[in-house]
Structure formats: structure tokens, C-alpha cells
Symmetry: C2
Subunit: 200 residues, 2 copies
């Protein structure tokens, strides 16, 4: 998700600000982030940030919306692949080798997600975020049932499980040192045992 | 886990402090917690808290250790039940109707877990926490394979999946408004499709 998240030379001020936010999040994490620290990654005057956003949290909620817009725009690239192949591609992406950049970003996301426990704006955002990814997973399951790859399962119910398992894994990757390397194999075993139609 | 977590009238000062910590966590959450606020729930002098702990985070890491000690002591009560029944009992507990108290406690846990993204002490604790629960889940899977209830799966791998899915669900319950009611059914479907031996 990280590489290519922002254009090299953003034309819009909003995108320029969000790109600076991303760089500052990687450097400082959520808790130590300030508008001034975002300003250090912003090529124009820091006062412009205050002009666009009331404060750090308003800016970050807009940053999270941008991630969703980017995810929406990036969909549909795997068309042509079967439903089970699309799920495995997703697992590959989630359980890919971590880089320092992806770890720093996941840490900041875990901190922001925890804000949703007490802050309504973050909660509203993460609800939208969860709904978006769960709906996309349900679409894949539905396609798989339609073309006979998958059994007749409840697409929403299976999507809820897949989403919860994947977001649990992403959170654990940055909050625990326990080895998650076998998750990829078991996620695949789940798809095979629960979803793949007989004889596939 | 909440009810009966602490004795009504703790004999040890440590337990008395941790009980006050629990009450203060429910009232203020992690971010707004202070030693003085814990002191307001502590029947003795607040200065005693400073005598026992350097600060809020040292106290909270000890609080998390107490939760593990309590969980360890509470194990083995479901002996006699078969492995699949033990898993379903666990699902019942995790997906039980939420109360204001259990929600407040889960919110505080989500905030503390996020600390583990940047704080080594919290991370060390949550690694131990995850290892404990994953090991117990692997024990149940192993028992089930031994007595023929379950297929010949890799117990560690399945336990990793179950644990990640359950901790993901607990986190989502307090950071998103999305409905998780179908998780219970899908967790059961996973056990059935992936674990139950043929003809059970």
C-alpha cells in the first residue's frame, strides 16, 4: 500500500499536506506527531497547514480518508483472476516481508486505531474503513460462489471472518513479537476447507 | 474475565492497588489515567502507590501480569468437556453480550495494546500474553487430535489462527461500529470444516 501512495510531485495542496503527514507519521508515530513536525516535511509554510486543518486529529482523519480513496482507486487490477487466486494475492500482500517503512506505518495505524476506542471521529472513520474492506471481501466471495469456485456460503459472514483475521494479524505484527509466519498457511487452509467447492 | 477478577477485600497491598487500577481504568481509560486518579479508588494513602511503582506504565504492566496470573489460575475448570465443546465455550465467552463494564475494560485494553507498538515493556508483556493464550489454544487442539475429535492438523498453526481471529474481534468490538454478530457462527463453521474429524 505504501509505495506509490503519493505522487512524486503533488499538484494539490491537500495531497502535498497528506504526503508530509505520511512522512512525519513514519518518523514520529501517532503519539509524538504535531502539526509543526508535519510542517518539517512540507515544502511550503507551516501556517498553510493550520489554514487547512483545525488540528492534528482533523488532519489525520482526512489522511485516513485518503488511504480509502487510494484503495478504492486501486481496485479491479486483479480482474481475470479467479476468486481463490484473488484471496491468495491478498494474503500475500498482508503477510509479505515487512520493511522498516511498512512496520513504521503499521505501528502508526495501530495507534490511530486505538484512538477509535474513545474518539468518535476516529471511530466513524475506522467503521467506514472496515465496511469498505469487508464489502470488497464479500464481493470476492460472491463472485466465487457465482462461478462455482466456492461453495454456497454466506458471503457477509465469511468476509467478516476474513477481515477480522487479517486486521488482527496486522495489529499483532506490531504489538507482539510472536511469530505469525504460519498464519498465511492457515488462512489458505481455511479457504480450502471452508470455501473451495468439492473437487476443485 | 471481569467479574470476580479481584477479591472483595484484598489482603495484599499489591492486589488492593491493582483493584484500584482496574476501577480507575474503567472510569478514565488508559490515556487519561494518572497515579492520582488510581489513588482516588485506593482506600489507603496515594503516596503508597508511588512507593510501590515508579509510574503509571510500570503499574499497568504489573496490572497486565496480574490478568495473566488470574487467567492461569482459572484454567482447567472445563475439564471433562471435549475439545470442540471447549472451543465453543471460549467463543461464547468472547462473543458474549457486552456490558458497559466489559466495553470500558476492552477499550482500555485496546489503548494499552497500542502502546506495545512503541514501548518495549508493553510489547514484552503482550508477547507473553499472546504466547499464553496461543499455547492454551494449541493444548485444546492437541487434546482434540489425541482423542479423535479433530483431524491431524498442525496445532500451533491452528492456534495462531484462532488467537489472531479472537483478538482481532475483541479489538474491532471497541474501535468500529460494524456488526460482528456473525463472527460466532463463522468461527464455529471454521472449527467444523477445518478441525472436526470426518463423521463427527
Amino acid at each position: 500500500m505504501q509505495s506509490g501512495l503519493f505522487p512524486d510531485d503533488p499538484a494539490e495542496t491537500r495531497i502535498e499536506i497528506l504526503k508530509a503527514t505520511y512522512a512525519a507519521l513514519l518518523e514520529h508515530g501517532y503519539a509524538d506527531l504535531t502539526i509543526d513536525r508535519i510542517g518539517q516535511h512540507f515544502p511550503k509554510s507551516t501556517s498553510l497547514l493550520y489554514h487547512h486543518y483545525e488540528g492534528k486529529d482533523e488532519l489525520l482523519v482526512d489522511f485516513l480518508s485518503y488511504l480509502l480513496e487510494d484503495a478504492e482507486a486501486g481496485l479491479g487490477t486483479e480482474s481475470g483472476a479467479s476468486a481463490d487466486e484473488r484471496l491468495l494475492t491478498l494474503f500475500d500482500r498482508i503477510f509479505a516481508e515487512e520493511t522498516p517503512e511498512s512496520m513504521a506505518f503499521q505501528r502508526a495505524m495501530a495507534e490511530m486505531r486505538a484512538q477509535a476506542a474513545t474518539d468518535q471521529e476516529y471511530r466513524r472513520h475506522f467503521t467506514e474503513h472496515d465496511r469498505f474492506f469487508r464489502d470488497r471481501l464479500a464481493d470476492v466471495i460472491r463472485d466465487g460462489i457465482e462461478d462455482g469456485t466456492f461453495r454456497e456460503v454466506d458471503p457477509e459472514q465469511v468476509a467478516t471472518m476474513l477481515h477480522t483475521m487479517l486486521s488482527g494479524a496486522m495489529a499483532e505484527q506490531v504489538t507482539s513479537d510472536l511469530d505469525l509466519s504460519s498464519m498465511r498457511a492457515e488462512a489458505e487452509a481455511y479457504v480450502e476447507a471452508r470455501l473451495l467447492a468439492e473437487g476443485r
